[in-house]
């Protein structure tokens, strides 16, 4: 497919700072002998543009977050370290596998934004979601928000041995609702799940579709301020999907900011006002859904047809367009306090 945006290296055209820097350099060159006072590479150096962000408007700040997993593994990473530790690992069968999942991610999300997150499998989308909900602390950098974000995913835990009814109560209480609120939400959850016939059965008798419906119904029973939606929510039959969409629209309308992880670019373009593309743990694009999705489609189609060079071209030109941001808190205002685990 053809791209609407031709490949234009940004540095030499649309950056005003560049032009100013070039002008300055020429002037300085004219004043002979003063060239050493200027930087060695006047054409590529520039002072960063400082923007002030309205704190009232901010919902979420990701400040230079990186994540490296260290997972216990008998197969991974057996060739690092000295000879003795390598031998020891071979004998005990215990070792570490290190996975660099995300590196140096920074962005700011304002109130009212719907952010789509795209990327090929293994690019770090799920890791980003885990960092955003605070389940895992980034190896370096931090994540800040106005309140604790809530993830709607099909991995919401349910206890297999107890009945659907008890699972609903347990799930609501685990989200911090009071018993009265739980009782009030009960009917709504049953209705959304559409499982009123099977509620007395223990969960181990449920099919996987049934339990994910129940999980969805429990997870969406609250109205969180910052909402993360996992793509896997699009499961179930046509009848359930219609109900899902209705409820999801309601929750989205009440939320201050929404993140949506999906492989379906149609959904992303339809629902989001901004798209973040993560590739191999790095942010590749952040901006207009239409443009980013086009680049992504081109990239994946090159990749799936084995055109590695063409894919690399798309990758590079997309990255040139990226305008990375650095977060700087005014002195002493870097947040430290913890959020409440209850959902209002």
């Amino acid at each position: 497919m053809s791209t609407s945006t031709p490949y234009v290296p940004r540095r030499h055209t649309d950056s005003e700072a560049d032009l100013i820097a070039q002008d300055l350099a020429i002037e300085l060159d004219d004043a002979a002998g003063r060239a050493e006072a200027w930087d060695e590479h006047p054409f590529t150096q520039q002072t960063p543009v400082i923007q002030t962000v309205d704190p009232e408007n901010v919902c979420m700040v990701v400040d230079d977050a990186s994540m490296t997993y260290r997972v216990r593994s008998s197969t991974g990473n057996n060739d690092s370290g000295g000879r003795i530790s390598r031998g020891l690992k071979r004998i005990t069968g215990a070792g570490w596998a290190e996975v660099h999942a995300l590196s140096n991610l920074s962005f700011i999300v304002n109130r009212g934004e719907s952010v789509g997150v795209i990327g090929t499998n293994g690019s770090g989308k799920s890791t980003l979601m885990k960092l955003l909900t605070g389940k895992v602390r980034p190896t370096s950098g931090e994540v800040y928000a106005t309140s604790t974000p809530v993830m709607l995913g099909v991995n919401a835990a349910l206890v297999k041995e107890i009945s659907g009814r008890e699972n609903i109560r347990l799930g609501c209480l685990a989200m911090g609702l009071s018993p009265e609120q739980t009782a009030a939400k009960y009917e709504q959850i049953v209705e959304i799940s559409g499982l009123s016939d099977a509620l007395e059965m223990p969960l181990k008798t449920y099919s996987s579709g049934m339990s994910s419906r129940l999980q969805f119904a429990i997870a969406t029973s609250v109205d969180p301020d910052i909402l993360l939606i996992d793509e896997a929510l699009n499961t179930g039959d046509a009848q359930f999907r219609a109900r899902t969409k209705e409820r999801l629209d309601e929750v989205r309308a009440n939320a201050g900011a929404v993140f949506l992880v999906s492989h379906s670019l149609g959904t992303i373009k339809q629902m989001c006002t901004r798209v973040i593309w993560i590739e191999q743990g790095e942010m590749l694009a952040d901006g207009d859904p239409q443009w980013v999705c086009e680049q992504y489609e081109e990239y994946t189609s090159h990749k799936s047809n084995g055109r590695t060079r063409a894919a690399k071209v798309v990758y590079e030109r997309t990255r040139l367009r990226l305008d990375p941001i650095k977060v700087d808190f005014t002195s002493g205002s870097r947040p430290k306090k913890a959020g409440s685990s209850r959902i209002r």
């Binding site: 700040v61 994540v143 995913g153 041995e161 799930g171 209480l173 790095e282 650095k326 913890a338």
Partner: protein, 312 residues
Amino acid sequence: MAAPALERAGGPTEPGDARRVAQLDGSNLIRVGARPGLFRYIREIWSFRHFLYYDSHSRVSSANSYDSLGRIWMILNPVLFGTAYFFVFGLLLNTGRGIDNFIGYLIIGVFTFRFFTAAVSGGANAIAGNQKVVQAFNFPRACLVISTTVRELFSSIPMFFVMALLVLSIGDMRLGGAESIPITLTWHWLLFFPCIALALMVMLGWSLALARAVNAHNDVKHLISFSTRILFYTSAVFFSADRYSDLGVDWLDTVMGLNPLFCVLDILRHAWLYDGFADPARWIVLGSWAAGSMLIGFLIFWHGEESYGKER
């Protein structure tokens, strides 16, 4: 990583090369996933008390749902163990020599020991074994450990009833080589409640500390089952506490006196079998263990609050 990082060769984006700097005042933001202060943490646990109660309650009622005999195993289990220990230690090795009311002595030992170790090993596994729940919800993690201990208490109530019945009915059965003191139900039996309450505090404190350790290093699990054995042999479950001093090993006697589980057993036995009070030192040791383990265990657990969602 799925594919060789061809594109990465283009040079990673250095954090320093950002051309935009966003300056903002973060005073009304929170750090996502941060650990709350100690008192706030306790308040949060309190606000999740309904979850805690419902979780332990629903798990008790479903605990043996895979067995065809169901909840009868809660009673059958210690009875079978008691019988086995009676044959091995009481009849074959004859460790009960010189212990009055040995059957009652053994019943109290075996039942209480099972209660204690089941709760501690269950609590130690409360975080590592419930990763799905930890990943899905945001409640203070200590709730899971507390709920395990509460659940163990709930599920042990029928067991304690059986223990009392057995002690009353066959506890004073006469065996060769020992006196038999008739067992009657007196107000001394009520000492059971404060004693078990203190034992619960010890168990909870240990569970909290161990839950963090097991979640950080799975290897600790192996050490727990080993330590359980050691505890079994140093708590006078099936032999007399005087055995070591009779042998002339006095330091073992001191070790046993400092063992909280031995204190629990000794208090219960004096109250139920011999209709009297145990040495007040037992209460002091048990009380200090209870307060100390609760405090230290809770601090240890709270300190690691941010690490419990991590993959292992």
